[in-house]
């Protein structure tokens, strides 16, 4: 597998794109959960599919939960919103507040992650398509609660050349803060196309 890495400029560029996206998502999320939501400046890494678990503090066995949307356009792939196993109960508590008891929260988890993931993923992809001046379309989101490898396989298949753009962000809701992840998974041709567009975008910015 060819080693692909992002330059510092590229990493800053992706971080800024995602920042715009998640900024919009924060407002939409606030409307959904009826509370002020803040999302931190994202931290970005590009890693091979095999190394995602090593770069993400998630257990390889315990199920993660979240949702992903497949997208298509000049490059295609899947963008996933990922909540690690240990964080899931806290995420639900923060997102739902005290309006729901534990039983309800369990039932609500799937739908909540579908909607919140969808809002964030859509906002991020919209940010990318605006910046790159391209059209990206998304399919309806898909919920998952499986170990990380199974989630990635569902998102992108098991192509050896696939990479994942890991976007780590802190998600503040009500009185607490939790760390969640965005996984932008693409195969090698899609990564190349994405970097072309990113390069043009950075050039326009004079970087």
């Amino acid at each position: 597998m060819a080693e692909i890495s992002l330059s510092e400029n590229e990493r800053d560029g992706v971080g800024e794109l995602m920042n715009v996206g998640v900024g919009k998502a924060a407002a939409a999320l606030g409307q959904l959960v009826k509370a002020e939501v803040e999302l931190s400046v994202p931290r970005v890494y590009l890693v091979p599919l095999d190394e995602v678990e090593r770069h993400t503090p998630v257990s390889g066995v315990l199920p993660i939960a979240g949702s992903y949307s497949n997208f298509s356009g000049p490059f295609q792939g899947a963008l996933g919103f990922v909540v690690p196993a240990r964080t899931r109960p806290l995420f639900l508590k923060l997102a739902l507040g005290t309006e729901f008891d534990a039983d309800d929260a369990e039932v609500l988890e799937g739908d909540l992650l579908l909607e919140i993931g969808n809002i964030i993923c859509n906002a991020c992809l919209a940010g990318v398509s605006n910046a790159f001046k391209i059209d990206l379309a998304t399919a309806p989101p898909v919920y998952f609660a499986v170990p990380p490898r199974e989630a990635l396989t569902a998102m992108i298949g098991s192509h050896a050349d696939s990479h994942v753009l890991l976007v780590e962000l802190d998600f503040s809701l009500r009185q607490g803060e939790i760390r969640v992840f965005l996984w932008l998974a693409m195969d090698e041709p899609a990564i190349a196309s994405f970097r072309d567009h990113l390069g043009r975008y950075l050039a326009e910015l004079g970087l």
Partner: protein, 536 residues
């Protein structure tokens, strides 16, 4: 990877897409790039009461004004402008579209899940397909399941609370009955061993009856608690090799006393010491045999006979039989004999009893793994038996009576503080300590008084009740330990709190010894001697 582009129906198809849509059991609405409705299927028309002709050509929030600014409208706009699909759940949005569903003949608000799917590239050619799913049935099932789960949780909690209340009740009953029994049994024992004015042989016999009945009452309390513990699965046994001779002699003597009142002759074939050693819990085996024996006397005929005998039924098994010459038991009566509250037809008769003795015996034998049973013949009599495993006569624990006796005389020239609020128990302790030459009893009736006296008088040992008014014994112990003047004085608990968890707590609290009422005088004196360091 799924495609995001919907297939376009062919022009020469027999059914148009719109016609097919009208036959689907989901809601379908197609929105053009300008956000206006292009298609509105029959399912939606019937559910909302808005005809397709009315809806087509308008924006959703024009057709349904209540949806202005709604997330659904935002999602449709986002699908058209940015190509982003979305999902909206009934769980997070109780009101999506104003749809109703019919269930059990009634019209109800419909629970919906909605998928907004972006079709085609964003911009002029864009379209958005809204799919509405009726999930009311699922919601109703989930609600019902959660309601039942809550009911079960509530019932479980109630059962746990009832169980705790029962345990508390049993603890209190045990404590309240043991406290007066302490005085009854203790004074009987003192009276029997009075040196200055020794009782006559007739008086000794009567005192023995007081003591025996006190102990029987104590045993009954224990039985009730034990039945509860057995039923609750918390009974523990101490299985060890025991010489049958002294145990059978003890049972025989008790039965003789009992039989004398009813003109029943107790005639046992008792083994000599060391003849048979069996593996059993001594206390429980004695309880089973006493129960067999007391039943044999109670249900016997006037001038009848009762006997205890042993017989090896194999090289490994010894059968102890308690036989009587009573009315005997029919086959039907034998079937229910070991069930609780069976009174052998004496439910309204004059024979005393609770009807739990044989049930306890049965459960105890099951716990020990030693079968019990009955052979009987109507008008001839019954033979209740228990089969026990024979073992080699080794490792039999020695008795401790000698230690207590020698120690009792060793507590001299010492002051002992007793903190107790019950006057009878205090008087009993006075008499016990009075028998120790040179020993003085200092009395306190509350924890606070006990602390003051302990600080001022510095006794060599403190005997402390636990259930004291105001400050309980645990707090008194804590304060004694915190005061450098009293920190080193050994403190013995003497209490009617005799449940297993009370004893465990007492041992963990740091008492020199935790002794339960009714007081076992020799054992108490032995422990006291150890506490003051004169144990020889």
């Amino acid at each position: 990877m799924p495609s995001t582009v919907a297939e376009t129906p062919k022009k020469d198809a027999i059914w148009t897409a719109a016609q097919i849509g009208d036959h689907l059991d989901i809601g379908l609405a197609l929105f053009a790039a300008d956000g206006r409705i292009k298609s509105w299927n029959r399912w939606l028309a019937e559910g909302t009461g808005i005809a397709e002709d009315t809806a087509v050509g308008q924006r959703l929030d024009e057709v349904i004004p209540g949806l202005t600014g709604h997330l659904l409208v935002t999602c449709i706009d986002q699908a058209l402008e940015a190509g982003m699909s979305a999902f909206l759940s009934h769980r997070l949005h109780p009101t999506l579209l104003p749809l109703t569903t019919r269930r059990d003949g009634k019209s109800e608000p419909m629970s919906q899940n909605i998928v907004v799917k972006a079709l085609g590239p964003p911009g002029r050619g864009a379209a958005a397909l809204v799919q509405v799913f009726d999930v009311s049935g699922t919601v109703k099932n989930e609600t019902e399941l959660r309601r039942r789960k809550r009911q079960l949780d509530s019932a479980r909690q109630q059962a746990e609370e009832a169980s705790q209340a029962k345990t508390l009740f049993l603890t209190n009953v045990s404590h309240e009955l043991r406290t007066p029994l302490n005085a009854v049994i203790g004074f009987a024992e003192l009276l029997r061993t009075e040196q200055q004015h020794p009782p006559t042989p007739e008086q000794v016999e009567m005192i023995d009856m007081i003591g025996a009945n006190g102990r029987r009452l104590l045993a009954l309390i224990g039985d009730l608690l034990e039945l509860s513990r057995i039923e609750g699965g918390s009974m523990t046994l101490s299985m060890e090799p025991i010489d049958l001779s002294p145990l059978l002699l003890e049972v025989h003597q008790n039965l003789e006393l009992l039989g004398r009142k009813s003109d029943i002759m107790v005639d046992s074939d008792l083994p000599p010491p060391g003849r048979w050693t069996v593996k059993a819990d001594r206390l429980r085996l004695g309880q089973v045999l006493s129960n067999f024996g007391s039943n044999a006397i109670k249900y016997n005929r006037p001038n009848g006979r009762v006997g205890i005998s042993c017989q090896e039924t194999s090289q490994e098994t010894l059968r102890i039989t308690v036989s009587d010459t009573g009315r005997g038991l029919s086959k039907t009566a034998r079937q229910d004999l070991f069930k609780p509250f069976q009174r052998l037809g004496q439910e309204r008769g004059s024979i005393e009893g609770t009807g739990i003795g044989l049930a306890i015996s049965k459960r105890l034998s099951e716990l020990m793994g030693t079968p019990i049973g009955v052979d009987s013949e109507v008008d001839v009599g019954s033979r209740f038996w228990i089969d026990l495993p024979l073992v080699a006569p080794a490792d039999i624990a020695p008795t401790v009576d000698k230690v207590a006796t020698t120690s009792a005389a060793s507590v001299k020239e010492k002051s002992i503080l007793y903190v107790e609020d019950n006057p009878s128990n205090m008087m009993l302790m006075e008499r016990i300590i009075a028998r120790l030459p040179g020993a003085t009893l200092i009395k306190a009736v509350s924890g606070s008084e006990g602390l003051e006296i302990a600080h001022a008088a510095r006794p060599v040992a403190i005997v402390l009740d636990i259930d004291l008014p105001g400050m309980d014994g645990y707090e008194v112990l804590r304060r004694l330990r915190a005061d450098p003047t009293t920190a080193a004085i050994p403190v013995m608990a003497l209490t009617a709190a005799a449940m297993a968890r009370d004893i465990k707590r007492g041992r963990e609290a740091g008492f020199f010894a935790y002794m339960t009422k009714p007081i076992d005088i020799p054992a108490f004196l032995g422990t006291l001697a150890k506490a003051v360091g004169v144990d020889d």
